[in-house]
Symmetry: C2
Subunit: 228 residues, 2 copies
DNA sequence: TGTACATCAGTGAACGCGCGTTCACTGATGTAC
DNA sequence: TGTACATCAGTGAACGCGCGTTCACTGATGTAC
């Protein structure tokens, strides 16, 4: 269980900040292809968030500069920066939950392997998209009024984890028998633990953190073994 | 292990936003008591952060309005808003670590009770100061260059937790024998778990979270029992 | 085949706002003579 | 005891900046006749 020297190597390198589009301005889309700009805007906003990790740094004019377009052109596709931010988050959350499911499936049918796979997928997403992760899970005192559609499947992921824990423990599961409260609780512990590991490493990269993969595996193991 | 209906009651109510000082402007301090303004500024900034939970919402002019003073007067005591913010954080971090130690001491000498006490103290601080907590632990991609002095004793708190875990497990401890890596790891799990529980509740107050105190006690119990 | 016109995909100037920061200034109060 | 002066504790106007937002405008392109 070796600790990395100063924990510094655990901080993922963010994408570099984006320069404004150099010189040549973007040429207008062809007729009927106006939505191309919409995609470019979302892309630019996503990269800006990836680079800064700060939703407050996302400005309408800034995005317009990156895309190489007049500030007013943003309004052709989004009512406000908040709506644009919601779109970015929505996209990333969908990728996130898909990645978690893929990572679980990579673990095959063994529930313990699925559980560990999902946890590793969680960490892998953070390593690949630290800025987006920071924005997706930024703790606000007053959460945005704009409720995002579908609650992002976070609840589904929690339930999937609880079911895998229950299976590891040999609980009989079917439509009438949901995972036990203990198994569900371990699902919450896992999510809280993972989120805590990652966000604390972002806040204090210089504390002597344990190796991240070791810590993840250790938590999963302890949670699994705590119920048998 | 009852879940609260929609988890909503787990979100602490933040302090209300601060109005600018009404009408009457602040009267200058007497001679030799210029530092009174410094305290008032820190106090106003703290309350602003408590109300918003967002470091980005703290502005020089905003603080000046609350105190009832010209914007330029802030410069009499602080070089920049960042320095002011650092001061606020420093104060709160010192309160935080003192509160954790007090909460541990309230548990007496039994290491398991101390551990649970410390965990409860952590949660209590969050309930009392959610906005400050959000700012103190806001995950930034590029952490502020201004390293805060003394690293805030977070490391000390981690070591104290590891020692209590080790004691619960019956490990012999003295100057030559630090807690085992397993005990240290459980300290990290506890911190990550607590931080995760709290910040995820702030991000998604409407998910059906378990009762917080139950979840905390359950985590402590599982971590303790995972090593015996 | 030509041409008028509607539509699409944007642009550019201008606005008012709040911000951090500067600079010279003010008014009360203690103190040296 | 009076008075000049230094010092303390601030003030107020002004600056340039980036921001969101508005409004009227433009230039290319497809289409109806």
């Amino acid at each position: 269980m070796p600790a990395s020297p100063e924990g510094v190597d655990e901080a993922p390198t963010p994408a570099p900040a984006l320069p404004p589009r150099a010189g040549a301005r973007r040429r207008p889309a062809r007729r009927g292809e106006g939505s191309a700009l919409r995609e470019e805007i979302i892309d630019a906003a996503t990269r800006e968030i990836a680079a800064t990790g700060d939703a407050g740094a996302l400005t309408l004019r800034g995005v317009a500069r990156i895309v190489g377009v007049a500030a007013t052109s943003i309004y052709l596709h989004f009512d406000s920066v908040e709506k644009l931010l919601d779109e970015v988050k929505l996209t990333r959350f969908e990728q996130f939950s898909a990645a978690l499911n893929d990572a679980a499936d990579a673990g095959g049918t063994d529930p313990a392997a699925r559980l560990l796979g999902r946890a590793r997928g969680y960490v892998a997403f953070w390593r690949d998209h630290p800025g987006e992760y920071a924005v997706m899970f930024a703790a606000r005192l007053h959460p945005a009024a704009t409720a995002l559609p579908r609650a992002f499947r976070l609840k589904d992921a929690l339930e999937a984890v609880a079911e895998d824990v229950a299976r590891v423990w040999g609980e009989p599961l079917d439509a009438d028998r949901p995972p036990s409260p203990e198994a569900s609780m371990c699902g919450f512990h896992l999510w809280a633990g993972l989120h805590g590991m990652l966000s604390l490493r972002m806040v204090r990269p210089h504390l002597p953190w344990p190796d991240l993969d070791t810590e993840v595996a250790d938590l999963v193991e302890r949670l699994i073994s705590s119920g048998r």
